[in-house]
C-alpha cells in the first residue's frame, strides 16, 4: 500500500514536471531558431553589403584604370606632338632660323692626338 501510494505520488508529481520541461525545451528551441535566423540574416546582410561594396570598389578600380590609361594615352600623344619634327621645324622657322647656305666641314682632330698631346 505504501509502495503503491508512493508510486501514485510519484506519478502525480512527475507528470506536471515533464510538461514544464518539454515546453521549456520547445521555447529554447524556438528561441534558438529565431536567434539563428536573425544571425544568419544579419550575416547574409553583412556579406551582401560587403559584396556590393566590394563590387562597387572593383568597378571604381576598373574606371580608375581606364582613366589612367586614357591619361597615359593623352600624355603620350602630347609628348609625341611636342617632339614632332614637323612642329619643331615650323617653330624654328617662326623663330627666324634659316637653312645654312654654305656648310663648312672642319677637319676633326684624331682621337689619338687628343690622348697624346
Amino acid at each position: 500500500m505504501t509502495a503503491r501510494k508512493h508510486h501514485l505520488h510519484r506519478l502525480h508529481h512527475t507528470a506536471p514536471t515533464g510538461r514544464v520541461s518539454e515546453s521549456r525545451t520547445l521555447r529554447r528551441l524556438a528561441s534558438g531558431v529565431v536567434i539563428l535566423t536573425i544571425g544568419l540574416a544579419a550575416i547574409s546582410l553583412v556579406t551582401a553589403n560587403n559584396l556590393a561594396t566590394q563590387g562597387k570598389a572593383s568597378q571604381d578600380l576598373d574606371q580608375q584604370i581606364s582613366s589612367v590609361q586614357s591619361e597615359n594615352n593623352s600624355l603620350t600623344a602630347e609628348n609625341a606632338q611636342l617632339t614632332a619634327v614637323t612642329k619643331i621645324y615650323a617653330q624654328a622657322l617662326a623663330a627666324g632660323f634659316v637653312s645654312p647656305k654654305k656648310l663648312q666641314n672642319l677637319t676633326r682632330i684624331p682621337v689619338v692626338a687628343l690622348l697624346n698631346p
Binding site: G55, K56, S58, Q59, N73, S74, A80, V85, P100
Partner: protein, 584 residues
C-alpha cells in the same frame, strides 16, 4: 470532420502550388533562366590597343589617343528626338570642324561644309528610329567633346571606346604609313602602306568581360564572371629617319610645284642595310582625314607606280656588260657614229648627236647614249642580258614591306626580238618601279650585293623586341664591277649637265633618266617621266636616292628637274650625316 476538411483544403492548395512550381520550373524553366541571366549578366568588349609605328629613333610616327563612339538607344531616350538632336548638333559640328582644321589638304580641296541645321535634321531622323538599342551617331570623338555630350545628361546616349589614330607628324610619310579605316564588320582595319601590310601585327585581338551585376548595375564580386584579356597589337619600329624624311619631303613638294609635275616620288635608302630612310610621294593624302581625299592619293607611287625607267636602266645594262666581260669601261663603241639600225628600226641618241670616234663605255654613260647601250646589249646577247636582269630581280617585286608593291612587266627572253633587246637596254619597252631602280643602283653602291629593301626593323610585343630577319644580300655582280661602275657614274655626274649642282668637294655617283610616256600604243611627245638615281658620297655611300617627277611641264628632262632636287637634298643630308668633303 472539420479536421478532414482542413486537411483537404491544405492538400489542394499544396497541389496547386506544386503544379504552379512545376510550370515555372519545368515547362518555363529555360526561358526564365535565360531572362534572369540577361537581367543580371553584363558582357562588355575590351578593345585591344592598336600597335604604334615608330621611327628609327623610337619617336612616334603613329600612336593612339582616346576616342569615343557616340550611340543612342531610342528605347531609353527620355527626351524628344528633335530636342536631343538640337543639343548634340553644335557639339558634333565643332568636333568635325576641329578635325578638318588639322588636315593638310591640297590647295584646291573644298571640304563639305557642315551646316548645324542639316546635322540636326540627320540626327533627328536617326533618333526617331523606334525600338533601336544601338544607333551610332558619331565616330572617334575626342575626349573633350565626349565630356561635353556627357554633361548634357541626355538619358539614352552612350559611349563606346573607339581609339583615334594619332599622327604627330601630320601628313608626313602619309603614303608609306597608310591609314586605318573600318572593316565590313566595323572593326578597325589598316589600308595601304605599313598599316595595310602589317595590319595583322598591329591590330591585336579584342578581349571580352562577362560578369554578374546587382540591381544597381554594379558587378558582383563573387558572381559568375570571366574575362578574356585583350591582346594589344604589336608596335613596329621602322628604319625611317624623321629628319631625312622632313628634308626629302620639303624639297620634293617644292619640286613638284616648281616643275609643274603631275606627281613626284623620292626614296632614300641605306645601301648597306637596305633600310628605307625616307619615302615620299607627293601629292599625298592626310591620314587624319583620308576620307576627304580621292583614292588616287592613297597609293605609294614608289612601290605601286610602274613606268618605263628610261636611261636610269643603263646602269644595269652597263653592269651586265662589264661583269660578263663583254666590255670594259674603256671599250669603244663601234656603232656610235650614226643611228643604230635594228630590224629596220633606227635607234637614235636623245639629242641626235653621234660620236664616230672615242666613245668609250664610260662616255656612253656620260652622254646617256642610247646607241652605245643598244650596241652593248646586242653584243652581249639576250641570254646574258636577261640573266643579269633576272639576277637584279627586274620583273619581280623587291619584297619591300609596304602594301601594294607592283612588279612591273619584263618580257620572257624567248619573246624578245633584237629590237626589243636594243630598246630594253636603255630602259624602254618594259616597266618597273622606283624602288626596283633604287635597288639596282643600291647594288652598285653596296659592292655588288643586292640589298633587301625593307622599312620595318623590329616588332615589339608587350615590351619584348622581336628583330625581323632580313635576308643576307645576294652578290649579283663582282665587287670590281661595282667599283668600276661607280667611277663611271661619278663621271656621268661630273661630266654631265648636273656637274654644276654637285656640292663642292663631294663626289656623287648617279644617272639621269628621261623616259617618254607610252599612250595608246605610241610615245606621247610631251609627257615624260624625269628621274635621277644616285648615291653619295661615292667613296663610302651613306645613302642611295631616287627622285622621280611624272610629267613635269616646265622642262621635260631629268637633268633639269630631278637632278636639282636630288642635289638640294644631298647638300642637306651631308650636313645631317656629318659627311666631310673628300676633295679640297
Amino acid at each position: 470532420m472539420r479536421i478532414n476538411f482542413v486537411a483537404w483544403i491544405i492538400f489542394i492548395l499544396l497541389t496547386a502550388i506544386a503544379a504552379r512550381l512545376g510550370y515555372w520550373q519545368i515547362l518555363n524553366g529555360d526561358n526564365l533562366a535565360r531572362a534572369a541571366s540577361l537581367q543580371r549578366s553584363l558582357s562588355r568588349p575590351i578593345p585591344a590597343q592598336r600597335g604604334q609605328i615608330l621611327a628609327r629613333d623610337g619617336k612616334i610616327l603613329v600612336a593612339n589617343e582616346s576616342g569615343y563612339l557616340l550611340f543612342a538607344s531610342t528605347v531609353d531616350l527620355k527626351v524628344k528626338p528633335a530636342e536631343a538632336a538640337g543639343k548634340l548638333a553644335p557639339i558634333l559640328s565643332a568636333a568635325t570642324a576641329e578635325d578638318q582644321g588639322e588636315l593638310s589638304l591640297p590647295k584646291d580641296t573644298i571640304l563639305p561644309k557642315i551646316e548645324i541645321k542639316d546635322l540636326e535634321k540627320t540626327l533627328t531622323v536617326k533618333l526617331s528610329q523606334a525600338d533601336n538599342y544601338y544607333i551610332p551617331l558619331a565616330h572617334r570623338l575626342k575626349q573633350k567633346y565626349a565630356d561635353q555630350i556627357y554633361a548634357l545628361g541626355i538619358y539614352g546616349l552612350g559611349f563606346d571606346q573607339e581609339p583615334r589614330r594619332l599622327y604627330p607628324e601630320g601628313s608626313l610619310l602619309a603614303t608609306t604609313l597608310g591609314f586605318v579605316g573600318s572593316s565590313a564588320t566595323g572593326d578597325p582595319l589598316g589600308y595601304f602602306g605599313l598599316e595595310g601590310f602589317y595590319n595583322g601585327e598591329l591590330s591585336g585581338r579584342n578581349g571580352v568581360q562577362h560578369l554578374e551585376r546587382d540591381a544597381a548595375g554594379h558587378p558582383i564580386l563573387l558572381g559568375d564572371s570571366n574575362t578574356l584579356a585583350p591582346q594589344d597589337g604589336r608596335s613596329i619600329t621602322t628604319t625611317i629617319d624623321r629628319f631625312v624624311q622632313l628634308i626629302v619631303e620639303k624639297h620634293l613638294r617644292e619640286g613638284v610645284e616648281k616643275y609643274g609635275a603631275r606627281k613626284g616620288t623620292a626614296v632614300v635608302m641605306d645601301p648597306k642595310t637596305g633600310g628605307i630612310l625616307a619615302a615620299v610621294t607627293w601629292p599625298a593624302f592626310d591620314p587624319r582625314g583620308y576620307q576627304y581625299f580621292s583614292k588616287d592619293f592613297y597609293t605609294d607611287d614608289a612601290v605601286s607606280d610602274t613606268y618605263e625607267p628610261g636611261s636610269t636602266f643603263k646602269v644595269l645594262t652597263m653592269a651586265a656588260g662589264i661583269d660578263s666581260g663583254t666590255v670594259t669601261p674603256d671599250t669603244i663603241c663601234a656603232a656610235c657614229g650614226a643611228p643604230f639600225e635594228v630590224q629596220g628600226h633606227s635607234i637614235r641618241t636623245w639629242n641626235n648627236q653621234y660620236y664616230p670616234t672615242g666613245e668609250t663605255m664610260t662616255k656612253v654613260l656620260e652622254h646617256s647614249n642610247n646607241v652605245g647601250t643598244a650596241w652593248l646589249a646586242t653584243k652581249m646577247g639576250k641570254d646574258k642580258f636577261y640573266s643579269y636582269a633576272k639576277a637584279f630581280g627586274v620583273g619581280d617585286k623587291t619584297g619591300i614591306d609596304i602594301e601594294g608593291e607592283e612588279s612591273g612587266i619584263f618580257y620572257d627572253p624567248k619573246k624578245i626580238a633584237p629590237i626589243d633587246l636594243a630598246t630594253m637596254a636603255f630602259g624602254q619597252g618594259f616597266s618597273t618601279t622606283a624602288v626596283k631602280i633604287l635597288q639596282i643602283v643600291g647594288t652598285v653602291a653596296n659592292g655588288g650585293k643586292l640589298p633587301q629593301l625593307h622599312i620595318v626593323s623590329k616588332l615589339t610585343d608587350t615590351g619584348v623586341d622581336i628583330p625581323l630577319k632580313i635576308p643576307d644580300p645576294k652578290q649579283v655582280i663582282k665587287p670590281l664591277t661595282a667599283s668600276l661602275l661607280t667611277q663611271m657614274m661619278i663621271g656621268a655626274v661630273e661630266h654631265g649637265e648636273a656637274h654644276r649642282l654637285v656640292p663642292p668637294g663631294y663626289r656623287v655617283a648617279g644617272k639621269t633618266g628621261t623616259a617618254q610616256v607610252p599612250v595608246a600604243g605610241h610615245y606621247d611627245a610631251h609627257k615624260t617621266v624625269a628621274s635621277f638615281v644616285g648615291f653619295a658620297p661615292a667613296e663610302d655611300p651613306k645613302f642611295v636616292m631616287i627622285v622621280k617627277y611624272v610629267e613635269p611641264t616646265t622642262t621635260p628632262f631629268g637633268a633639269t628637274t630631278a637632278v636639282p632636287t636630288f642635289m638640294d637634298i644631298t647638300k642637306e643630308l651631308f650636313g645631317y650625316f656629318g659627311v666631310a668633303p673628300s676633295t679640297p
